[in-house]
Amino acid sequence: MEKTVDISVDFAGIRLANPVFTASGTCGYADELADFMDVNCLGGFITKSITLKPREGNATPRIVETDSGMLNAIGLANIGLDKFIEEKLPILEKMTAAVFVNVAGQTIDEYVAVAQRLSSEKAIAGFELNISCPNVKKGGISFGTEPEQVKEITSAVKEAVGQKVLMVKLSPTVTDISVIARAAVEAGADALSLVNTFTAMVVDIETRKPVLANRTGGLSGPAIKPIAVHLVNKVYNEVAKSRGIPVLGVGGIRTASDAIEFIIAGASAVGIGTANFIEPGCTAKIVEDIKKYCDRKEIANIKELTGSLL
């Protein structure tokens, strides 16, 4: 008899066909990715950060490769809310994956304005609050490192999103990530995603200048995976588990094995970021390989795996 593995996930009340998301900023608005894969095989999709007004982003170089990783300092370049609604929303409406819009801004009012305007859009399942972008001077990470600020912005946006799910994306560059996670959850976050990139620098030894025009950038890729797994486990144990808050594990995932590590550590779902740049269809394979793993380990429902770390 053929075994049936259930890899669907209940993520803060949203039914996901599988636990695999593409992470914000690495999958555009889905149109670019569609040349390489059937985007409908994804469980969830998180857009590039949207701000109220379009943003041109930072000067170049905006990226540099490092050992098993890369630094980016894009600077939240995006087309802005109006153009997003006009040009990209129609594409996202056709997706079967749960669409999350990543929201960023320089002031709380800006975050609220974006969330409010999109809160009634049927195509959108929820929002990911970007309070952890390391590459913009105002806003971004400055909101994500102080528990009081996290509470203030989370509760303001929570009110704006209405019935939609609010997920807060956490920065790993803090003293205790659980303190920030707790602040977000207490202020109304329905889910947490972690981690964003690590603030980092690469120096050109010939010129003695930082390689990136922004001087620093966010480190992502396989290099950060073990740290991200640890932080997911910590937040799961100390904050999320007892409150029934799902965690989206993100950081250096390239394969199903990587994804499963995060799930065992406490993630209900996983986000694939940098790997999309190297193999734009990798998420489809990860979904299939997660099924195979469950089959092999005789796991009937992937929920059994979440937080099953011994």
Binding site: G25, T26, C27, G28, E32, L33, D35, F36, K48, E56, G57, N58, A59, T60, P61, R62, I63, V64, E65, D67, S68, G69, M70, N72, I74, A77, G221, P222, T274, N276, F277, I278, E279, P280, G281
Partner: protein
Amino acid sequence: MSERCSSSDKGMFEAIVSSNRQIGQRFYRLILEFSGDGAIAFVNFQPGQFAELDLSGTALPSAEAIPEDLHDAAERKILLRRPFSFTDVTTNRDKTFAELLYCVAGPATLRMTTLSAGDSVSVIGPLGNGFSVPDDKKIALLVTGGMGVPPLLHLAKVLTADLHATMIEVIAFAGAKTETELPFEGRLDEISQQLGFSIPEFAMYGIESLLATDDGSAGYHGFITDCLAERLGQSDLASEDIVIYSCGPEVMLAKVAEIAKDKNIDCQVSMERRMACGIGLCQSCAVECRLNGSNETVYKMCCKDGPVFDSREVIF
């Protein structure tokens, strides 16, 4: 102007190495063979378009084959694909062959040297917009510096093919810092040089070529852009009959753009930026451009909007 060429059937394909040949101290020529869907996708690859190669799993050469200045770089594990343009694309039955000319400059190109016939390479492409070939020009000037040569060799072939026979004359200008940085297989003899044919790779298409090196070790002693300016000064052709195509270091492109602007000549430049993906996902490869000829600036993406831009558009 004719339509810009971009391909909608881009994808990720496995290519098989048919040869990988060293042509100079640091230069190699690699031929990739595509079959099936890859052959179909790459058959329409236009000069100036590019492809992203995954070299992360390719082995390093033996320690003694690693140039001293790359010893440290060789230690680095690479993650991202690398963008390359092609020097030539040919077909034979149901196969498409793409030729790359590369310079060993870092951890990825160092690994590339160990590829040998039969090896498999993952390639994403065709990507970006290539050079456009106007149907109303009489002369095309190809201006390259350093490793800007590959897409212009491909363009040279396309321009001199029967299809574009309206083009009366094509002249190539190739510059480098020093002779060893010219990515060509030797040079033609004195007599050919006196006739204006210095570079065999261009001569094979019947194209005149001029060489310049910053240190005077080969050809004209000075910048290749000086040769371009001089040639244009001698020309009695009307500006609207000329088109300039350029690829190379940005400082050279800026000079070429300035010359073109002064003489009111159409000019297309191929830009280079650090890219993580090449397919519009990462937004890394921003090129600062003028918005519709105004003073307002906008960042365009080298991978999707370029890599070839109208030189009037780019802010250098």
